[in-house]
């Protein structure tokens, strides 16, 4: 059956097709979209839905492609050699395996999440071309080729900070998670909070969409924000009535800080 929506995650038709195509074609899937639309969550849910193990590789600005493959810990070896440790004779003791190696080495198929690939240096994706295409790489220290036993399902997320190279994109599938429509968002809220008062959800959603439609909002709130906000509303015992009166231009509303993360946006609200 492939990947479907789960109890906690609502996937659009397009996303389902993209994920299943990526599994069938054995090509990595690049997921982009507004922050907070569930890009990272997707990999977890695929793992959950298919009952497979998830390996996440969180990319930072300092991450290099090599770190995903392996690192040779020469400093430890130097120290060990001075202490006369037996280990020092076998270089394999000082090869620290990276996430990619871990995924390749697994006996069963795993999901490999390469999170926020755009955070890394511009050359990072190019350094992984061969590795992702052939699902193998060469370890110079051990003089052997590491090959994937079973090709992992690879999900790559990007926040659009840097443009990804064409050669890299050609080897992948692409899906843009657009902001969910009203019905989908309702479904998403429903899977998170069962049995919430209908009127509260409706009022909250109305306010939320009004907020998103204000031009000039710097950081438009997204799915993850409304989920958090609704939680706060229920904790604070806010009623639908308190939200209904609100209109753009009114300024603050209950827990507005959960939806708007930019102080200038809060100012915009008052205009």
């Amino acid at each position: 059956m492939g990947f479907q929506s789960t109890k906690t995650y609502i996937a659009s038709d397009g996303l389902k097709v993209a994920v299943n195509a990526s599994i069938a074609l054995q090509k990595p899937l690049i997921v982009k979209g507004e922050p907070g639309t569930g890009k990272t969550l997707l990999a977890e849910e695929i793992a959950e839905s298919l009952g497979k193990k998830l390996i996440s590789w969180n990319v930072k600005s300092t991450t290099t492609a090599q770190q995903g493959l392996y690192e040779y810990d020469a400093v430890s070896r130097l120290r060990d050699s001075q202490l006369g440790d037996e280990k020092v004779n076998d270089i394999a003791n000082y090869i620290v395996r990276g996430k990619l190696w871990e995924a390749f080495d697994s006996e069963e198929q795993v999901i490999l999440l390469i999170d926020e690939v755009d955070k890394a240096d511009i050359e990072f994706p190019n350094d992984l071309l061969q590795e992702l295409d052939k699902m193998e790489f060469y370890c110079y220290e051990l003089k052997k080729t590491i090959q994937a036993k079973i090709r992992p399902i690879i999900i790559i997320t990007s926040n659009n900070e840097k443009e990804l190279p064409d050669a890299f994109l050609r080897r992948c599938l692409f899906h843009y998670i657009s902001f969910p429509e009203r019905e989908t968002l309702k479904a998403i809220i429903d899977v998170h909070y069962e049995g919430l008062e209908e009127t509260l959800i409706n009022s909250a959603m109305r306010l939320f969409y009004d907020l998103r439609s204000i031009r000039g909002i710097k950081k438009r709130p997204s799915t993850s924000e409304i989920i958090d906000w609704i939680k706060l509303l229920t904790i604070g015992k806010i009623t639908a009535k308190e939200l209904d009166g609100w209109q753009p231009g009114n300024g603050d509303f209950p827990y507005s800080g959960a939806l708007l993360k930019n102080e200038q946006d809060l100012v915009t609200l008052r205009i």
Partner: protein, 402 residues
């Protein structure tokens, strides 16, 4: 059930070529992946699924999603009347007909314009006849009658019904007709989200620096590799080496663009280590100012500015260049003060002093021809005038780097 491959190839190869001809970057490799995916029955035989599948395999950048949706809608026009099972059995000729219309953009425009014009002319005739009978309000009649159909049939992108009306057979608008990715298109004006994209373009500019500094981590490592013999490792410095002078046109006709410019300004502020900004009004003359609130007391002489900064600075001028031609060409032409020397003279001083000067113009490029001063300014900056859109900023940055 698998599809017959020749049908597949005929049907989708055309679609693929149309995409390519329309400037969507698609490659053969991706097309083969699509065929492979279709053959391996990943999707059910549904139009919707085919749409999603082809989109995720062929399109790799959200800025092309909207174009893809439009082309898909035109190419598979009429598909809403066809059931899913029949989708893959559509005769080839029928598809050809749709694609021929699209293969050349000029042709497509022609046909669209012709279809539109016929209707407009018909309506005009009707109205003229009506007018003969009535003998009143003639100009108005033709005015409204003649132009408004253009909205529906002609040149307004909102007006052209690329997609379908609701049909008797299917309930609603198809996914690709919603055009939800429209605002991700590259040439839309900068908005909050899009500005981040522009930022990225500016960032490529800041990666020019090639200073060398010692990489301690790598040095320790390679020294260890080297059995304890010191081995130095150097890396290019990450220092931001780009120096930028930013000139903002402020007030008057620029009021419409204030938000856009302030966004660009705040974006630029974080991108460059050496950035100085100055304000001017309409055209640069002998004085500039840095604080707009106190613009009338705190002048900075343009000569001082020219002496302060050397050739290494890259100059970005932001303004609509919309003014009376005298403000550029003549002595005493400025609207604000008596300028002893013409604006052009001052602009030339700047272009002579700095090798890299670009002008970003918030006025849409296609309207530039209507304002004479824009053309004049464009000549002064050696044609390096670009629209203040994502694409325009990209081009401007290219020009700055050359």
């Amino acid at each position: 059930m698998s599809f017959k491959s020749n049908i597949l190839e005929n049907m989708f190869l055309d679609f693929f070529l149309v995409l390519k001809n329309q400037g969507v970057p698609v490659t053969l490799k991706e097309y083969l992946s699509l065929l492979e995916a279709l053959k391996s029955n990943i999707i059910e035989q549904k139009v919707d699924d085919f749409y999603h599948l082809s989109k995720s395999i062929l399109i790799k950048n959200e800025k092309y999603l909207d174009k893809f949706d439009q082309i898909f809608a035109t190419y598979f026009k009429g598909i809403e009347t066809i059931t899913n099972e029949e989708f893959y059995k559509i005769p080839e000729e029928w598809m050809k007909k749709n694609s021929e219309k699209m293969l050349s953009p000029e042709q497509m425009e022609q046909i669209k314009a012709m279809g539109g014009l016929d209707k407009v002319l018909d309506r005009l005739k009707e109205l003229l006849e009506e007018q003969k009978e009535r003998h009143e309000g003639g100009g108005k009649w033709i005015g409204t009658g003649g132009t408004s159909p253009f909205g529906a049939y002609g040149y307004n992108p909102e007006g052209i019904r690329i997609g379908q009306h609701e049909s008797r057979h299917r309930k609603a608008i198809k996914v690709w007709d919603k055009r939800e990715f429209k605002n991700l298109d590259d040439d839309v004006e900068l908005e909050t989200r899009n500005l981040k994209m522009a930022l990225r373009k500016l960032r490529t500019l800041t990666r020019e620096g090639k200073q060398e500094e010692l990489d301690i981590r790598k040095t320790v490592k390679s020294t260890s590799n080297n059995a304890g013999m010191l081995h130095l490792e150097m890396v290019p410095s990450k220092k931001n080496n780009i120096k930028v002078l930013l000139f903002f046109d402020i007030g008057g006709s620029m009021d419409d663009h204030i938000k856009l410019c302030s966004e660009l300004f705040s974006a630029a502020k974080y991108e460059f280590k050496h950035m100085e900004h100055y304000y001017f009004h309409n055209c640069i003359y002998e004085n500039l100012w840095q604080n707009n609130i106190r613009r009338h007391n705190e002048h900075i002489s343009t000569y001082d500015m020219l002496h302060k900064f050397n050739k290494e600075y890259k100059v970005i001028i932001v303004g609509d260049a919309s003014m009376s031609p005298y403000e550029i060409a003549s002595q005493y032409g400025s609207v604000e003060h008596y300028n002893e020397e013409a604006g052009e003279t001052w602009m030339r001083r700047i272009t002579e002093q700095f090798d890299n000067v670009v002008w970003l113009n918030p006025v849409p490029e296609k309207e530039w021809n209507y304002t004479r001063s824009i053309g004049m300014m464009k000549v002064i900056v050696n044609d390096n005038m670009f629209p203040l859109t994502l694409h325009g900023i990209g081009r401007a940055i290219q020009a700055l780097l050359n």
